[in-house]
Amino acid sequence: MGGLGRGISSALPYAVLILFTLPILILYCWLGFSSFFTRMEGLRPAGAFTLENWRFLWVPETVEQLANKPPIIPLTINTLVFSLATTAVVLLVSSMAGYALSRLNFPGRRAFLGSVLLLHSFPSVTLLIATFIVLRQIGLYDRLLGVILVKAAFEIPLGIWIMKGFFDTVPWELEMAALVDGAGRITVWWRIVMPLVRPGLLALGLLAFVSGWNEFLLPFVFMPSGSQATLSLLVRALLGEGRFVDYGLLTAVGLYYVLPILILFLFAQDHLMKVYGGGVKG
């Protein structure tokens, strides 16, 4: 192969990759630009650089579109509480169940593992309709706590599988030794096994946190009054305001909402890539 041919054939994959990735780049670049300029012409900033679009952070009362909406700081706190609480429940319940499935040979173990996998692929709309009724019956409808429990429950089947995989890699002998020395099962689990599966907890925790932070459908359906609304509901409300959309404000709020996730992604990229690939093993 000649020099020119080689040059073209090694540059080709790059060119195709860039071409295909362009739409994603354009979308995210626009999100950033649009929030810092007074006017945009497509992708090109046409106005002056400004922080005006971000004034919802320091003088929210001057932003007309936010007049009849919950203030941004409580919304942020709600979102944070929602995702942290979901993560805590998912981690605790999945690691207990995962440990039991990995170590104890109780009747119905196989059936439980199989059904957990089946449940994970269940259409969420099927669950939503009935969960609506369940929440009403137990009095958690329209409350953040109810949405936290539902969200955690939806994440737990995958969590159990992930954690079981990690527990399977921890050698028996360690626990055996501690059990022989007279430690209780719970102590062994908490003191000896849990520290060894820290990478698994980290991976699952990241997954649950990101998924909780981003959640839109559950609060949308189960908290209609919006008294404990999250950021996703605010963005949705601004987006749904029809034809006179103020893209400057909208992108600033959107960027504010997505920024923690982007920063997290920057630092925990390798972990997240693994989790989303579905192949989380020790």
């Binding site: 195709v16 995210y28 692929s121 269940f122 709309v125 429950a153 989303y276």
Partner: protein, 292 residues
Amino acid sequence: MGPALVMVAAFFVAPVIITLGMSLTDMATTTGLANWQWVGLDNYERMARGSFTLLILGNTVFYVVVTLAFNVLTGLGIALLSANVDQRVGGVFRALWLLPRISPSVVYALMWTWAAAAPPYGVINQLVAPFGIEGRYWINSDPWLIVFLINGFVGASFGMLIFTSAIKSIPEELFRAARVDGANAWQIAQRITLPLLRWPILFVLTYQTMSLFASYEYILLTTNGGPGLYMTEVWSLWAFHTALSSYFGNLEFGYGAALAAVLVVMGLLVSFILLRVFRFNDLVSDPRIEIT
């Protein structure tokens, strides 16, 4: 173990049973949670006779097939290409493709709403202008295109990650041997990589078919089934609209539950057929590539 059982029972097992039960009732906002009645298979009969049932079924198949093709082919393409370039650059591209998946759905939908916006906004209008295509409001004029794009650019990353790890687990000697024999990149992909990716491809196809049948969030956030009556309405969105967010104010839980139950059957049926077509049993007996 206990808490897991309780949560799985309360939010999975109970809902499934309740859904099946509800689909046999006339429960709705008008009847309240107290005054409903058993109506047998009336909901299913209504579905079979409904004038929009066929349209929505057609929409669903169209949506699943096109998005699936886009997802799997793009995912495969990105995985193959990014494995063939410098490893660090490849990683950057994969990270970029993962962005839509980790971003909140409302923010991602916001970006596409802008991209597809009517002139003078909208980057799609600007991009196609040099080709002599007049500016328009794409969500209204070509709703399906936007539905495919918004779902495709999220969905492709799943296949990309699975295929990438599968490619990485192929022994390096195979590639080296092929190169020594004078094979070029295309021949290597065609003769070595793709045949060895048979199992991951089957897995991604089946998994994503199930996910697509169940998915409606991005459609809800962009076209919301419109424009016009049920133009881009898919089955899961129909169930959602009927039971949880009706245009007409009356939430029909019973009918919505029946629609959801049919959705489950559809998903199971299609994955069963897929596994049959790809002769799943032959595949598992092969020494397969572990997806790790």
